[in-house]
Amino acid sequence: MRLEILFFVAPALLVFLFFVVWPILKAVQFSVYRWKGYGPLVDFVGLDNYVSVLQNDVFTGAFTHNMIIVVLSILIQLPLGLAIALLLNRKMWGQGVLRTIIFVPYVLAEVIAGVVWFQLLQPQYGVIDTILGAVGLHGPEEGWLGTPDVALYTVIAVLTWKYLGLAVILFLAGLQGVPEELYEAAQIDGASWWQVQRKITIPLLGPTVRTWAFLSMIGSLQLFDMVWILTGGGPANATTTMATFLINEGTKRSNYGIASAASVILFVVALVMALLYQFFILRRDTQDAPRTKKAKR
């Protein structure tokens, strides 16, 4: 019996330990050395790498950008996704096709979506500036991705395009779990469409929304591909994220100690936010009884 368990679990466990746990422990080890990637690890510097990362304006800027992306992604995608899901949650012509189409951007690689948007956003001769020009407006002179004050928000707009479909599809799936009797009861009581949505649908969608927001948050903290393709972190570090910072330090400058310290900080930030979210928000989903009662009232 023990041998059987070992036989079944060992392959997955070994791969997991070797390619996930071990590298993460190594990252912690690298982070306390000054190391350029060759020779032995001898130059122990204690927490110096952490201090230098935390004092680095590029990194603190990157951290701020990550936080802006976390917050704005949820603030923009939640109401939009909810509105679209509520509108689509009805019998209508072409519903299946519609759901498929909405999900398309999510299935594309971030790189592919990024390359297409990069072309669309080209200053002057890109199609977006052309359309704006046709109605008498014009984009920023240096381009949407070339103007430091605008670039981050342009990236967020592209991310919204890429990930809104996921929110809509998940919310729609959550809506299907709302029992029909509740709608019938509400309508017999004379509730309006808006009242039904506000008092029944949205509260019952709570767990789905909270889990989606959690996934969105974790994704925003790790953001790399889209930024790397659209701006590479520029202009003037206006769009760096923690991930682009550590890849830059690690692969372009071979500062493995600094890059590892940054990755450990990224991990701690993600972990703390995940735990806080779990504690303050997701915890409500385990207390099932009161929630359902409240929603029915």
Binding site: E4, F19, I102, L266
Partner: protein
């Protein structure tokens, strides 16, 4: 979808005109709903469609009238990509790495989920917790040591396996978390009956459990495949030259031919086709898997 029929009758537009007490069912939403749906669709597929159509235009056309249809339609951009051996090499690399990743994830994931779901032993829950905690480890955190481990220690830097193994490792926690409840839900009687018939537990696993778990395996397999097909960061660090995958190829092509917008559009459009076809074929599984992940 049953819920939709009821709400569909009480649109905000109609609410003002009629009284609220109506349970009559009717298909179709109001024109407003269709209008909004149309806007959403345009916003969603517009950029993709523009890219695909842009591939049928010349750079002169694109520069002259950026927001017009191809006139005349030119095929040279697409034929240029399709006769480019690099494109096929990248597609092949992407396909092999995605298949290897999927195979490791499905086989190892099923094997690990089985005892975690259906055996009783002291270390069961702690062991499962190891995988659950694995969900919290973003690949980005481990990327620098992984790069050194794979390229310098294992000398697998520019190989298919060098990318597939770590990708599978990072996909395993989610796989185990999705598969365990799936395996738990299969009735206990099946196991008792087959054990009574003299089958070993390993025999039960291969002959009964694996065939019955088709849907669960397809779901985790599809998620692993799409994840691998689209991945960028790990291949970026590990693969060079003719070992590159499609996302790397797309990024390279776009920076090397930055002024050849039409060529970039053609290359990108062709690179997105496999993912789109795969998605259309497996749509239910992908959505189902994501829902499962959200509920889990």
């Amino acid at each position: 979808m049953s819920a939709g029929t009821i709400t569909g009758t009480v649109t905000p537009a109609k609410r003002q005109a009629t009284n609220t007490r109506r349970i009559k069912r009717q298909g179709g939403g109001s024109p407003l709903v269709y209008l909004i749906a149309l806007v959403v669709v345009a916003f969603t597929v517009g950029p993709v469609l523009y890219g695909v159509l842009g591939g049928f235009r010349t750079n002169a056309q694109l520069a002259d009238k950026p927001a017009a249809l191809p006139d005349p339609w030119v095929l040279t951009n697409y034929t240029g990509v399709l006769t480019n051996p690099d494109f096929w090499q990248y597609a092949l690399n992407s396909a092999i790495i995605a298949l290897l990743t999927t195979a490791i994830v499905v086989i190892f994931g099923m094997m690990a989920a089985y005892p975690l779901a259906r055996y009783q032993f002291r270390w069961r829950e702690p062991l499962f917790l190891v995988f659950v905690l694995g969900l919290l480890f973003p690949a980005t955190v481990a990327i620098i040591p992984l790069f050194i481990l794979i390229s310098k220690d294992l000398h697998m830097g520019n190989t298919w396996w060098g990318v597939a193994l770590p990708q599978a490792a990072f996909a395993l926690p989610m796989t185990v978390v999705i598969l365990r409840p799936f395996l738990m839900a299969l009735p206990k009687e099946l196991e008792e009956a087959s054990l009574l018939d003299g089958a070993s537990r390993i025999g039960f696993f291969w002959r009964i459990l694996v065939p019955l778990s088709g849907p669960g395996m397809v779901t985790v397999g599809v998620l692993a495949f799409v994840g691998s097909w689209n991945s960028y960061l790990l291949p970026l660090l590990l693969l060079q030259d003719d070992m590159k995958t499609l996302p790397l190829g797309v990024a390279d092509f776009s920076s090397e031919h930055a002024s050849d917008t039409a060529g970039v559009f053609a290359f990108t459009s062709l690179a997105m086709i496999p993912a789109l076809i795969f998605f259309l074929a497996m749509q239910k599984r992908i959505v189902g898997g994501l829902q499962g992940a959200v509920k889990g």
